[in-house]
């Protein structure tokens, strides 16, 4: 059974004067341990699709099953719980709390999961060490470089062992060198068995994924497997 099962999903925004069809009938299945890039020009509906997949938004119509559960049936608190336990978000703008240390930022999902403080700390420390920031745990975001900030965000996404990691333009605010490092980190995560969904408009970023979904005008325009995904090694 697919981890993510999306069938005929429509998302319509009422902009007052007109109805905007951000998604007009999208059907996709994503299996566990896939590495999928969602591409498309702006206005294609890729952000909306990501919000739906991330349970930040619910479809106007159509079916969305996450791990066999119909997301449309869930209330606000249940959606929050899915976001907390099943999904790890990585944002283009990092979205770290500016006045908190890296460690506390990574602890946040665990706080909302109700994990006791000593365990929280242990797990957050491990997640930060795993992304190579073991020596930066008590730094605040403004004391870290862009790449380090995004690593903190990745650690935060990983810390609660989610079913999928959902990255929205994760390299958009990074220079290309740092971007490559982050993509390398994603490849490693995928190799460790994580499921990754990447939203991007950059071709070379998308090519790190093993499958590329292209959206156009709120519909899936193409769905192809990448024969030779970019890896860290191939770029050296």
């Amino acid at each position: 059974m697919a981890l993510i099962h999306i069938k005929d999903v429509v998302k319509t925004y009422d902009m007052g004067a007109e109805l905007v069809h951000a998604l007009s009938g999208v059907t996709i299945d994503i299996q566990a341990n896939e590495y999928v890039a969602i591409m498309g020009p702006s206005g294609s509906g890729k952000s909306t699709l990501m919000n739906v997949i991330g349970c930040l938004d619910t479809p106007t119509s159509g079916l969305y099953e996450f791990g066999g559960e119909n997301v449309g049936d869930l209330d606000d608190n249940q959606l929050a719980e899915i976001r907390n336990r099943k999904i790890g978000f990585v944002f283009q703008t990092f979205n770290l709390l500016p006045r908190s240390t890296a460690l506390h930022n990574v602890e946040l999902p665990l706080i909302y999961a109700g994990v006791p403080s000593h365990e929280r700390r242990e797990r957050a420390e491990k997640a930060l060490t795993d992304v190579g920031l073991g020596d930066r745990m008590l730094h605040k975001p403004n004391e870290l470089s862009g790449g380090q900030r995004q690593r903190v965000a990745v650690a935060r996404a990983l810390v609660n062992n989610p079913s999928i990691i959902l990255a929205d333009e994760p390299t958009g605010n990074l220079d290309s060198r740092t971007g490559v490092e982050i993509m390398q980190l994603f490849s490693e995560l995928h190799a460790q068995g994580n499921t990754l969904i990447l939203v991007t408009h950059e071709e070379e970023i998308a090519e790190h994924a093993h499958r590329i979904l292209r959206l156009f005008d709120g519909k899936v325009a193409s769905d192809e497997v990448v024969a030779n995904p970019l890896t860290y090694a191939s770029q050296m």
């Binding site: 606000d76 907390n84 944002f91 979205n95 006045r99 706080i111 909302y112 109700g114």
Partner: protein, 408 residues
């Protein structure tokens, strides 16, 4: 549903937010600060007044009635004007006929007499009375003694003076045995009363500025053409109402008041002090309550305003927290805690200001800030925070995560 984690995270976020906006937070709490200062000082003053009242009551003696031509604090003083004077003979007769009274003491007084020693002089009330005055007043001289039966009957020129009179006339000298002039007549000081202090302008009841001489002497030198007061103290164990009834019945007969007519004399007790006290306390209470409510209202609106700003500023943070799994109630709680914490700090600041002020009050009016007021004012502060934080917190809690994340 809300866990301890929510709570500690809430406090943590609140402290971080407050630390980041120190000046803003302090200014925001101004209303709360003023409210807390007013409420604590008000309670301190009321407590001080209560203590002063107790002291004044004890100086008046608890179960003592004061028979007088006048009713103290009656609004109908003109009624008393036409009453016949109370005389020393009536007092004598009352003393002989009362069975339930321990002491019946005539007191005749004259206002604004000049007390003089060497080149210093003060003005004060002069009283003529008998040795039993010690029983009805419940006050013994701090130095020296009251006059005795012999000095009283013989009308000896001896006097006991109040504490302020002694201070003013003698400064560092020992007054006992010295001779002072009262309206030109010489008196030997044989005693000084301890200091009583006055309560709310009741200095006329305080012995501090007065002098006491034997009744016989007073009558001889200052005349009798004035109404006297009679102080009546009941025996121990006598029911107050029984004693009062006997006293009124007997005195009506002495004064020949026909049955069915009103008393032509006033029966006063220390209860009037209680009434004065209650009046003052309720005035302070009403004024204080108005100021407090107003400043808390202003403070509450300020907090609400700043919380709206805080929510707006942190829209993206709210979106992020929601994406990471924060529920509506966690977000609601976070902002409520923040509002309550700001107000709590305001309350503490208010206490920090009113504490030294209460020490100043203590100098004038012996008192201390009661603990319950400290607890109450902190609770009120927190309550104001919760009430004024609730709408902004709701706004934050019901934000759509997608819109919040997109907010720049």
């Amino acid at each position: 549903m809300l866990s301890l984690h929510d709570y500690s995270e809430g406090v943590r976020i609140a402290l971080i937010a407050i630390r980041a906006n120190k000046m803003r937070s302090v200014l925001t709490t101004l209303g709360i600060v003023i409210g807390v200062v007013v409420v604590t000082l008000m309670a301190t003053v009321i407590e001080g007044l209560g203590a002063a009242l107790d002291k004044s009551i004890s100086s008046l003696g608890t179960d003592v009635y004061y028979i007088s031509k006048w009713d103290w604090f009656s609004g109908e003083w003109w009624k008393a004007r036409n009453r016949k004077d109370i005389t020393v003979e009536q007092a004598e007769e009352l003393r002989e006929r009362l069975l339930l009274a321990e002491a019946v003491v005539p007191v005749v007084n004259s206002w604004q007499r000049t007390f003089k020693y060497k080149n210093r002089s003060v003005k004060g009330n002069l009283n003529g009375t008998v040795p039993e005055y010690e029983i009805t007043s419940g006050v013994v001289p701090e130095e020296g003694r009251f006059f005795n039966e012999y000095e009283s009957n013989a009308g000896r020129p001896v006097c006991i003076i109040g504490h302020d009179v002694a201070d003013n006339l003698f400064e560092r000298e020992d007054p006992i045995g010295k001779t002072i002039k009262i309206s030109g007549y010489s008196y030997r000081v044989i005693g000084v009363f301890e200091k009583e202090g006055d309560f709310l302008g009741t200095a006329m009841f305080s012995k501090d500025t007065q002098a006491f001489i034997p009744l016989e002497n007073f009558l001889k030198l200052f005349g009798t053409n004035r109404s006297i007061d009679i102080h009546v103290k009941m025996r121990d164990g006598v029911d107050k109402e029984d004693g009062k009834a006997e006293m009124i019945g007997v005195f009506r007969k002495i004064r020949a008041v026909p049955p069915g007519e009103e008393n032509d004399f006033g029966i006063n007790t220390q209860d009037f002090l209680k009434q004065v006290f209650d009046g003052v306390v309720s005035t302070i209470g009403v004024v204080g309550f108005l100021i407090t409510s107003l400043s808390l209202l202003v403070g509450g609106v300020g907090i609400m305003n700043i919380m709206f700003v805080s929510v707006k500023e942190r829209t993206k943070e709210i979106g992020t927290r929601k994406a990471l799994g924060a529920t509506r109630s966690s977000i609601l709680f976070q902002f409520l805690i923040e509002a309550a914490t700001i107000c709590m700090l305001g309350g503490l600041l208010g206490l920090a200001i009113s504490w030294p002020l209460s020490l100043i009050i203590d100098e004038v009016l012996p008192s201390s800030m009661p603990l319950w007021v400290v607890i109450l004012s902190l609770s009120i502060s927190v309550a104001v925070g919760l009430i004024s934080g609730i709408i902004p917190a709701f706004t934050a809690a019901k934000m759509n995560p997608v819109d919040a994340l997109r907010y720049e």
